[in-house]
């Protein structure tokens, strides 16, 4: 299935910088969240995607702006890539009344549903019940098709979550209906404390697609351009009507399941081995050695994203908690209760439209 000409060869310099920017921003937003967490400003758990920012960005970057994304808790990179303003994330984690869920739901559980023809991403955050977003993603892509659209839906799912019945029913349904769905199955070696060996009896996570007649391929999840290349091919195929595709991502969860989890069940050696493969550091090298960017440009981006994340966090901190009076509002349609839209932004590297 390999092709000689890689899609990434066609990426313009500003696009390469933009990918770097999104990965960096994802990491810096999470670093900020850690600080807020330590200040107990974050309500509930904090889930890091440390070490997985690359695959999140690489996959999402292969989408058209109008496509649909269904991220999980560790896909901060995907959210940054589709242009969710970091402020929205901080609001969510701190349960602010200004957040898309107005403090009603956790972390990245945000939803953006543009008009059918708007050139704007469909964003459907997960519910906690793992696997459920796969049938929903299938429905989104099917629905877009029914309305004459050509949106592809991309749904990320962890190794553990592929063991749910919802994953099976959703992917099988999509395969039968030839729905333009791209599933990104992330083998990050663990589901909470459970090693993948206790989750499935197959060599590679992409084989999870084999029962459905869904094309699948593994990729080194810490090589951002390799991820992008495969994702681009999968997305193009899905959009071309070839039905769902599954990308198997080989990566590593570099911290515990959440901040409370010291992950002592993970062998040190494994962590060291993967630390050497940090996706952002690798991409940096690729860019510099490939001559696509100078070290200084990247240093500037590092500073840019760090400051941006810090400023956004500060803004969110000063925002109010939701009004207790509102607790029963908006359970059903009909009471005039408005919900703030998710603010979308363009990166400094975006091209003019």
């Amino acid at each position: 299935m390999k092709e000689d000409r890689k899609a990434s060869d066609a990426l313009r310099p500003n696009q390469l910088l933009e990918m770097y920017y999104f990965a960096r921003l994802a990491r810096d937003v999470e670093e900020r969240l850690v600080i807020l967490f330590r200040q107990s400003k974050v309500i509930g758990g904090l889930y890091r995607s440390l070490g997985q920012e690359g695959e999140s960005v690489g996959t999402a970057y292969a989408l058209e702006r109008r496509d649909a994304v269904l991220p999980l808790i560790r896909n901060m990179g995907a959210l940054m890539t589709v242009g969710v303003r970091p402020l929205e994330i901080f609001r969510q984690y701190m349960a602010r009344g200004t957040a898309n869920s107005r403090g009603r739901d956790l972390n990245i559980h945000i939803v953006n549903l543009p008009d059918p023809d708007a050139d704007e991403p469909v964003i459907v955050g997960p519910i906690s019940m793992l696997g459920d977003s796969i049938p929903v993603a299938a429905g989104i892509a099917m629905g877009s098709r029914m309305r004459g659209g050509d949106r592809v839906a991309m749904a990320w799912i962890g190794d553990g979550a592929t063991s749910t019945g919802a994953f099976h029913e959703g992917l099988n349904f999509a395969a039968v209906q030839k729905i333009p769905l791209v599933v990104v199955a992330e083998d990050n070696k663990y589901a909470y404390s459970t090693p993948i060996s206790k989750q499935m009896a197959i060599e590679h996570i992409d084989e999870r697609a084999a029962s459905y007649g869904v094309p699948h391929e593994m990729v080194d999840g810490n090589d951002m351009l390799a991820v992008y290349d495969l994702a681009k091919r999968m997305v193009d195929r899905a959009r071309a009507g070839e039905g769902p595709q599954l990308i198997g991502v080989d990566t590593m969860r570099m911290q515990g399941h959440a901040q409370h989890d010291d992950a002592r069940y993970v062998p040190k050696a494994l962590l060291e081995q993967w630390a050497a493969k940090d996706p952002i550091a690798r991409f940096r090298t690729t860019l510099v050695e490939g001559g696509a960017a100078k070290k200084k440009d990247l240093d500037d981006i590092d500073r840019m994203t760090r400051d941006y994340a810090a400023k956004e966090a500060d803004l969110a901190v000063d925002e109010p908690m939701p009004d207790p009076e509102s607790v029963t509002r908006g359970v059903y349609a009909g009471d005039k209760y408005t919900v703030p839209h998710v603010e979308l932004v363009r990166s400094p590297f975006a091209e003019e439209m």
Binding site: S128, Y332, A333
Partner: protein, 324 residues
């Protein structure tokens, strides 16, 4: 006005809503060429094509989950669960995903999940359930169950046009047994409004679905011993029409709660609570529940007859109640 069956009324509602609104589509098992296990969707695929009448795999989670996704994209999916008993397989999708979506992110889920419920036809433990109590503790969902052909059509149209997820339970015992006048022109029966099926002064029989007919039987029998029963058809189970319930009890001072599901943990509890909380001063007698036995639904006719509420059981309970 043409007289049609309860089943035909459901089919008409689907035809008319699909014809009137291109966003409406139906999905389920064997609903296409075959027309559904009970032929409710018969002819729909011929008329509207495979893209709007979708035969799904045996995957209730995928049916409801993909309907949620499609509704996010502006469509109006109507899901058929071949027998409503199988709704247990998508309980999570309905209670956790669909029911909470609007509250969490303002993302409405205008889907309808419909299917045949109820017993009396020898269906056994897995083809006879009345699942309303499973969902009554989940805000965000609406539930309706018609007892007449007129309501079957009007409630389904209302459900399809509703902006929130609606569970539409159709009682399979009524499919072909119940016929009444159904207008050909467009109308809806509003969700949340009960109907008084029989005016009465001595007690209120509060019920819905197939049991409405059992209640009316019982009321006729009670008439002969001079007992004048009022029969309230709830039609909507969520939200409940509290006003209708309370004003009837205020009038009769006696409440008999009749439902086909198992007695314990059934909707009768919620009704009893509403009455005991808000109509206490009007009550001249204990609230009485007449419902199925606390057991799985048995299959043999003699067992099922002993299991289900009957007009005779209602009459007995009513007699004791009015004597109280």
């Amino acid at each position: 006005m043409p007289v049609i069956t309860y089943l035909e009324a459901i089919r008409q509602a689907l035809f008319e809503e699909m014809a009137a609104d291109g966003r409406v589509f139906v999905m389920g098992e064997d609903i296409g060429a075959y027309g559904g296990a009970f032929k409710v969707t018969d002819g729909l695929q011929e008329r509207f094509g495979e893209s709007r009448v979708i035969d799904s795999p045996i995957s209730e989670q995928a049916i409801v989950g993909s309907a949620i996704g499609a509704s996010y994209m502006g469509l109006r999916p109507v899901c058929e669960i071949q027998f409503i008993d199988f709704i247990a397989s998508c309980f999570d999708m309905l209670t956790n995903f669909a029911a909470t979506s609007r509250y969490r992110n303002g993302a409405g889920v205008p889907i309808v999940v419909r299917g045949p419920c109820g017993g009396g036809v020898g269906g056994g433990p897995f083809h006879s359930l009345n699942p309303e109590a499973y969902f009554l503790n989940t805000p965000g969902l609406k539930m309706v169950e018609p007892s007449t052909a007129y309501d079957a059509k009007g409630l389904l149209k209302a459900a399809i046009r509703d902006d929130d997820p609606v569970l539409y339970f159709e009682h399979k015992f009524l499919y072909r047994r119940i016929k009444d006048d159904v207008p050909e022109d467009d109308y809806i029966v509003p969700i949340g409004k009960a109907a008084v099926r029989r005016e009465g002064s001595d007690l209120s029989i509060i019920t819905f679905g197939a049991m409405v007919h059992t209640a009316l039987d019982a009321a006729r029998q009670l008439e002969s011993d001079g007992v004048d029963a009022e029969v309230i058809d709830l039609r909507s189970l969520a939200p409940l029409d509290r006003e209708a319930i309370l004003s009837s009890v205020a009038k009769t001072s006696r409440a008999l709660l009749l439902y086909e599901a198992r007695r314990t943990g059934g909707i009768g509890g919620e009704l009893a609570a509403i009455i005991a909380e808000e109509a206490f001063d009007y009550l001249d007698a204990p609230v009485v529940r007449v419902a199925s036995q606390d057991a799985p639904v048995p299959y043999a006719p003699p067992l099922e007859a002993a299991f289900l509420p009957t007009a005779a059981k209602v009459v007995d309970a009513a007699r004791t109640l009015v004597k109280y």
